[in-house]
Symmetry: none
Subunit: 197 residues, 4 copies
DNA sequence: AATGAATGAGGCTTCATTCAT
DNA sequence: TATGAATGAAGCCTCATTCAT
């Protein structure tokens, strides 16, 4: 039986880390800063994380888990490839747009080193890309979408569009909602996948 | 009297920085590492750069200047929006793909902090985005491309695709050439911009 | 719960600083030297002092506090201006003369920059000067001392004499005791304050 | 035959050093700063001075030489001890007060290390003290001044008063003239030296 | 005599991590 | 589990000094 206190303190540390890293960057954030905001002692951090880097990893993992979990739930009763892809686009922008601090981390901080981007993010991002590719392949098989380009490449293109929208939103000072762009992005993607005449 | 050595030493430092930062990351690279590879004393670095961060900035500026310069030259005699956009796609992948170390920096290291990505990169990237948007707007005006979406948004989408391809290539261990994807990307973009029926 | 170790470690650092700075000068003393002598790690210094300069400031503050405290105690039951001034002279030379290392710092090292001497020392020295001036003014009012010169100026003169004696003693190699000059200095000052005929 | 150009450049360096050291302190002033203000190259400094410290030494020597020279001239036709001492007081305050930058150096910067104050300044200051002591001894022998205290001690006391007045003036922001205090100081000293009843 | 680019030793300071309590 | 004082390695940067021109 999991002790609730344990999970709660770990969560508190992660929550604190999101805020601090979002505003000071990963290297600009000290373990002490995270500890102070989380309301724990510096040493306590090391009861839950092997080292500073693991906090960042856990942060990303937690976000991805939530994303995957919600995605699985929301896509469960959608069978049409177009509907599924549209929902993914919505979800992606919705989730990234729902927490600017976390978005700063996923769109900016997590990309700060080859080592990092490669070993950690990409593993999960790879699975995400494959999920998109599967949907696209399905649509291609159903004759809905262009088949002159591989589903894998198309998936990367779609991801690239989503990622750029997210980054652009994070970097823009304007007080817009990322989610508001979902419709346009969906229109773009849908148009891009049309079969060639 | 022009002192050729001056420019040359600064270039040597930047060249050394590209290699070191590409393989150890910005924070994993010490000024001493760069100096050693450049064949100068540590202190010499500071005759040419105010601090470590300025090396990274200069690196990006140099790369962007070369990019812009070559872009301007190559696009000079192309008038057709489709041709211009196609050439930009080729150039983007060609230039990023021509120097993997530099690509690692532009695709990964430069994105390590909001401050950085915001103040430095985005200023120049913004100009690039606008250049693409202008071409797209031209194509829209000529009735070549879909007009249901704003040129600005379409430009971001196109950039997102290019950027994702570049990042994907940087992170993939496979010995492929980024440039090889130019044709497929162009096909994708061309298809995506088709007018709606 | 009071942690006695804390205060003690800070004291140890200050004690070590006195010795090192006295023999190598402020600029010739490194933080590492102080740490080694104090038996702590370099970083520990920064748990107690914001930076190297603050060590010097604290040194002076601690010395002044002790001086003021002892001065207040010793002057408490003296009412006669002459007795009070005489006691101050004794105390000044006694305290400066009781710790040659500390004396080197107060007489020499602390005067190493306008900024320093101005902002730090002078604030406290100013209060000291005023205390002397008050005693002199009292003596003047009582008709004991010359009134053709302002008490403020006379106080500076008295301080100048004490300070010069202290500096002279610090710089002299001879193994004399500074305190031994108290009587002569008192005689000088007493004579100097005599009313004009 | 001395080359005039040589002397002139050395003077320029010393003049520049006075200004820079007065406003940034000895340790806060770099050789490059002095060189820039003097209008010479960094390396040129080393054609005239062995190292940075020697600049400070030369500065003091030059000032003392001028002081001694002027003192000798002005005291030449004064025979009365009282007049001679009075003139010294005037001269001391006049010369220190005539160049605030130089005063900052003599009153503050030169005292920044035992090594310095000891080896360099004190040698010359010692001669100065002896000159004052000689005058006082003369006055004592003539029965003008108190004899219960040694001339050497009295000389230090007088010097202490002058030095404190100078330091006080340097540290005070007020726009007063140091020389204006000469009369009061002379009155104090004269009174202090009166024979005991 | 003069230059000023280049040197490189060394200092201050930060901060991830540990460990005795 | 929790603490937080202590550690000490390591980095950025400065600047007095040199030397080829």
């Amino acid at each position: 039986m999991p002790r609730p206190a344990t999970g709660r303190k770990k969560e508190a540390i992660l929550d604190a880390a999101v805020v601090e890293i979002a505003s000071h960057g990963y290297h600009g954030t000290t373990v002490a800063m995270i500890a102070r905001r989380a309301g724990v002692a510096d040493g306590t951090i090391y009861l839950y994380f092997r080292n500073k880097e693991e906090i960042l990893v856990s942060l990303f993992d937690r976000a991805m888990d939530r994303f995957v979990e919600q995605g699985a739930r929301e896509l469960a009763d959608l069978t049409e490839p177009a509907a599924r892809l549209g929902r993914i686009i919505e979800l992606h922008l919705e989730l990234v747009g729902s927490d600017r601090d976390l978005a700063i981390i996923t769109q900016v901080e997590l990309r700060h080193s080859l080592h990092f981007l490669d070993q950690l993010s990409r593993a999960k991002v790879g699975a995400y890309l494959q999920a998109i590719a599967a949907i696209i392949a399905e649509g291609q098989a159903a004759g809905l979408w262009r088949t002159d380009l591989e589903a894998t490449l198309l998936a990367k293109a779609v991801f690239g569009v989503l990622d750029e929208m997210a980054t652009d939103w994070v970097l823009s000072r304007r007080n817009t909602r990322l989610q508001a762009r979902a419709e346009a992005v969906a229109a773009f993607v849908t148009g891009a996948l049309r079969p060639l005449p």
